[in-house]
């Protein structure tokens, strides 16, 4: 009886809810990168054909074809001045570069499908965009990590107690899923302009974003990241 009732509620929800007004099986093309959560997508990103062959950054002319071009989907990285529909010119990084990534790099991380599956979330994007904060040392505790971020002056947001609490929750949550004896990266994204932290294995970082091209108001503004 309970099952029947649940099915009826699910059916009604499917018909009247705006949630189900989008295609449940929609998956972003591989040229798109989620600015925030890869479980959600705006499907309103730009068209790669709009990217000009050359862009100008200060006095330098950059050939876009020499880079991996990805389209940003979502507004989560707006505080970093990377908007929905912007193009990222990225370079693939090797193991050595991956290990040497420092603070403030914009990286493209491969989405860990198993992780999202465990959280009962769909994965709509193959990649997500993050700003690196620091690597987590093997065996480092939460307290040691916060102390290091503060002493090395890495991240201003960490000074707020609410953010510390959020980081602590994320740290223990990630510990349950990932092996922290391997190389892990702490990175940031945003939701409604408020910072969110995430941990992911360094091995999942595939590209480093070098330039962002913003095709707003008929102009292409390019910025080095």
């Amino acid at each position: 009886m309970n099952k029947v009732l649940k099915s009826i509620i699910a059916l009604i929800d499917d018909w009247i809810s705006i949630n189900s007004w989008e295609d449940k099986n929609w998956h972003a093309p591989s040229c798109c990168v989620a600015a925030g959560d890869p479980a959600y997508g705006s499907q309103t990103g730009g068209d790669r054909d709009n990217l000009p062959p050359y862009v100008r950054v200060n006095d330098e002319q950059v050939e876009t074809a020499r880079y991996m071009n990805l389209i940003v989907d979502g507004s989560s990285m707006s505080p970093e001045r990377i908007s929905n529909g912007d193009f990222l010119l990225c370079t693939k990084i090797g193991d050595e570069e991956r290990e040497n990534l420092g603070y403030g790099e914009h990286v493209v991380v491969k989405t860990d499908k198993d992780y999202y599956c465990k959280k009962n979330k769909p994965v709509r994007f193959d990649y997500k965009l993050r700003r690196t904060i620091c690597k987590v040392k093997a065996g480092e505790t939460y307290e040691q990590l916060v102390e290091r971020i503060e002493s090395e002056n890495l991240e201003d947001s960490i000074f707020l107690s609410a953010n510390k609490k959020m980081l602590k929750e994320k740290f223990s949550e990630s510990h349950k899923y990932y092996d922290f004896s391997k190389s892990m990266m702490l990175s940031a994204t945003y939701r409604d302009g408020e910072i969110r932290y995430s941990f992911h294995p360094v091995s999942l970082i595939e590209y480093k974003a070098d330039y962002v091209v913003s095709p707003t108001r008929g102009m292409n503004n390019t910025r080095k990241l």
């Binding site: 705006i18 707006s78 912007d86």
Partner: protein
Amino acid sequence: MTLMDCVNLLAFIQIAVAFDFGLLYLHNSHLLKSLHGDFIYGHRNRVEPTTCCACDILKDLKYKHGFSVKIRRGSLKRWVDRLTFLTDVQQANWSKYVYLGLCGGLYSLLSLVLIGVTGSSYDPEIRNFLLVSGEVFLVYEFFIVYQIGKVRTNGISVIPLVKKAILLIVIMGIVGVFVYNGWYFKFFSSFRKTYIVLLFSIVYFPIFVYLWKMWELNRNIAKAKKECERWIKDDSQ
């Protein structure tokens, strides 16, 4: 309703149909989207001196120590991020609002057919049907707006839209059965005034939502700017 009134009303409804379905099919280039973009762009220009000043202060504070400095750094960064997010021009996304256009457009079409084509505005059953279905549509539009605030995706696809259009037609059918059997409460004595108010509310609902959104955005930007300035001022003391 005189013949002239009827003609005027039909003209009004036709404009509403064009507006609502325009919102549905021109969601990437609709006038509301451009106006929203211009609105944010204006705000961005106005808050730019504040964000630039805050960023300079954040750089300077990096070399200072102390608990109060840390709190100022954290707070200033928080409000600069929020302000940058709120004044991102690409936020002017109206994809989610196409559902309101679909709702308004369908009700306008229904009115157009019932009043214009069949000329049945004098029939009490048709009048009651228009009133009751209008109330249902208005409630559904409020429900859509409530959900728009909760759902984080902006995407639309054609198949679910067709599904929702079928749903609205089915609702109209159910309303028809209720009206035919007299299963409804009669609140309003005058059809004409009630219907005009109801019709205006339903078909131009996206405009009201738009104005409300602009007011909300304005308020949020003002708050973030004020907080930013407060932390800048604190720092300069």
